[in-house]
Symmetry: C2
Subunit: 192 residues, 2 copies
DNA sequence: GTCTATAATACGATAGAC
DNA sequence: GTCTATCGTATTATAGAC
């Protein structure tokens, strides 16, 4: 069983993870985090020396859960097309959160890319993780040469649809967009 | 001629405009703005009561320059296809800035949409301005029914390409993406 | 290891002299 | 209108008692 210290640390990471998503990294204060995690004020510094450390821990945590999800999909879903469509499906399933707070990965990168290049480079790992997994599926589908480009195109489509759906608070646009992506994927699969 | 007061105010707006783009709204402090605009510290408050006022002035300024640009295009460019491709062209021309700071309109909306809904609604006007102009061009091209949806799709494509190009610092992706958009537009035009 | 108290700084904003 | 001085608060972070 996890020690009390480990459980407290995990509670801080979970709270920070949520807040960084809902408010953004820079607008989230340590006070916000300790309130949400119900940890005494100055105690935070026992677990994380700086706010940047906290963000890195959050990114690491997201990497782990994402890796788990992707390898789960790889085990339980047989064809590359179905796997790619499973990726599109979480976009559609996450509609309320996406309309409220945008893409957790995209909005974090956009925020940090402005003038926090080192942190942005850490956040970029999240994109790399998806990109490589998606490219693997495209390669298996029959596009080994174009796999990387196709994976980037798929992520670009997703990001664009999410931004516009959020700006206009339009769940229908998200729905039509994901359906259109699926049509594109099915055509790719058909003519592979 | 403009009074000294008006020139000072314009200098503040220009400085804020740049800084909000390069650092983001929330990470830009009044100190940053007065330093950049070379205005004495507390003087800012003579021109703008609050930071939110300053952002609204920046948005208004961007609206004006954008309106000017779009009506200029409408005067000087004859066909809807060429006008739409002119829109795509500024994306390509802005490659260095987009890789550095993202889309001025998109990144501002993404930042504010998290938990500053009123300011985000002001920033949304920038999207509306482009959206309506783009829809007008699609309508003239022969798609009056689908005009709004096509304009949203065009903006979504642009946003997605910019996000991915920035994440991967890849000007080539931006170039290939804009070319692909142009192919799409030319096909729409051909079969209108 | 846990927590309180508080330091040190940066922030948005104000008061009032000129 | 222009500027200096400064307020009150919130921020990240530390020192040190228990």
């Amino acid at each position: 069983m996890a020690t009390k210290s480990e459980r407290t640390q995990q509670r801080i990471i979970d709270a920070a993870n949520q807040l960084f998503y809902r408010k953004g990294y820079n607008r989230t204060s340590f006070t916000d985090v300790v309130d949400e995690a119900e940890v005494p004020r100055g105690n935070i510094y026992y677990y994380f020396k700086t706010k940047e450390d906290m963000l890195r821990a959050v990114i690491k945590h997201r990497m782990e859960t994402t890796r788990l999800m992707l390898s789960e999909w790889e085990k339980s879903i047989k064809t590359p097309l179905d796997r790619l469509e499973r990726f599109v499906q979480i976009m559609y399933d996450s509609t309320p959160a996406l309309l409220r707070s945008g893409c957790p990965m995209g909005s974090l990168n956009v925020e940090l890319a402005k003038d926090q290049p080192e942190l942005k480079n850490d956040a970029k790992q999240l994109f790399d993780l998806f990109q490589q997994w998606l490219a693997k599926q495209f390669a298996q589908m029959g596009y080994p040469e174009e796999a990387r480009e196709l994976s980037l195109e798929l992520m670009a489509r997703g990001q664009g649809i999410i931004v516009i759906a959020q700006v206009y608070q339009d769940p229908g646009f998200l729905e039509r967009g994901t359906k259109e992506i699926n049509r594109w994927l099915e055509n790719l699969d058909r003519y592979a």
